[in-house]
Symmetry: C2
Subunit: 228 residues, 2 copies
Amino acid sequence: MNSKQSLTPLDNISLTDRVENNLRAYFLENAFKPGDSLPGENEIAEKLNVSRNVVREALSRLRMLGIIESRTRRGMIMARPDILGGLERVLNPFILGKDTLKDIFEMRLILEIGMAEFLFLRKTDKDIEELEVIIKNQSSIHEPTIEEEIEFHTKLYDMTGNETFTRFQVLLIPLFNHVFSLYKKNNKVHQSNHIYHKDLVNILKSGTVEDFRLAMKKHLAPYFKITD
Amino acid sequence: MNSKQSLTPLDNISLTDRVENNLRAYFLENAFKPGDSLPGENEIAEKLNVSRNVVREALSRLRMLGIIESRTRRGMIMARPDILGGLERVLNPFILGKDTLKDIFEMRLILEIGMAEFLFLRKTDKDIEELEVIIKNQSSIHEPTIEEEIEFHTKLYDMTGNETFTRFQVLLIPLFNHVFSLYKKNNKVHQSNHIYHKDLVNILKSGTVEDFRLAMKKHLAPYFKITD
DNA sequence: ATTGTAATTTTGTACTACAAATCAATATTG
DNA sequence: CAATATTGATTTGTAGTACAAAATTACAAT
């Protein structure tokens, strides 16, 4: 037997925590769908034998996540949550761990490589034209600014037609840049034989999915280099 | 001018919402880090000129996300949130929209293709051995069960050494299976020229990143077919 | 110097009260 | 009769009080 195990901190779980878990399980088990009406605060408090206060603190959490909505006198109804709402609220680089930030940094690279499939599946001539407008507006003299990088890459995500995917990436951008700027402070970023945005567009026009992934990998080489 | 715009619902934003936003902005602006101690509930209520009740409902949300922790008499301190905690709580297939579920389904495919880079970068002989044990335990007679699929693919995610990435995928699995099982009800899933887990392992042993991505794409072909 | 004890502070929970919103039912008016 | 106005009741949102539990601090005792 492991004596360290037996000294694990006792779960200091509050009534509010338990009510929250209880309610989420209740919603799932009963297969409640958006629009379904829910019992009132008083009824819940009575049924669970806790104060209305505790119930409201739990409901407040679910309201924040968009799982429920409530209006005066109308009672509460199930709602359709934004799947990324909870994520958005914790994206504060000062409180996330270094490991998590590194993980997020890598995830963005994985997404950029993996998206090629859907990019080629769904790209349209109009998309290509828009990409060309974007790179035309970006001076070829200097390195693209962060804003120009974001504009180009976000357009690529857009082209996959996957809104959640696009929004996910947009949320990760600030953390990604945070990690990269920390790195740049201490390291010289060197890129030879670089692939530029215009090269990526050319491959989108006349290359293959595999060509694109290889090119994207080269384009992202400075970032991949960090992950060692 | 667009008259529909002017009929947008008035923001029915509660005091609790405003206090929550206020606090998160406060934390970010002051670059609070995990462990930093925070003002007490009474002080916040007084400063913001709202009842302690409202403050507690807002704090309850932040506690759920793991942004803060509080213990009796000890006051509140900043904490290190689980970046996926908020996501986890809304992963209820009954309340997420069809579009979102489809997006999630596609995102998993993107991750599987995109992960190859880090898989090859970090795989070890021990990992390969473990993969071979997994496929050896899986009968080659029948199609892999969902559990067997999960076991194999989760091991692949593990091998990238990216814990957030692995956890993210584990969270998506139930939704992914939900979407796929809905599809299977109405459609015959046919797979010829299929790539099996053992083929993927062989490529991991002696192939290239590009070989692996192409193989994985074939392995996932039945799923890609859905996304049309 | 360590242990025990009491005072105090802060969060957790409960309860009451009331304003605002709105639903339901009834009354009023054209 | 139909449409509108009024009234009453109900439910959420906010405020405030009260007290238990926990833990910090200070002090007392051995």
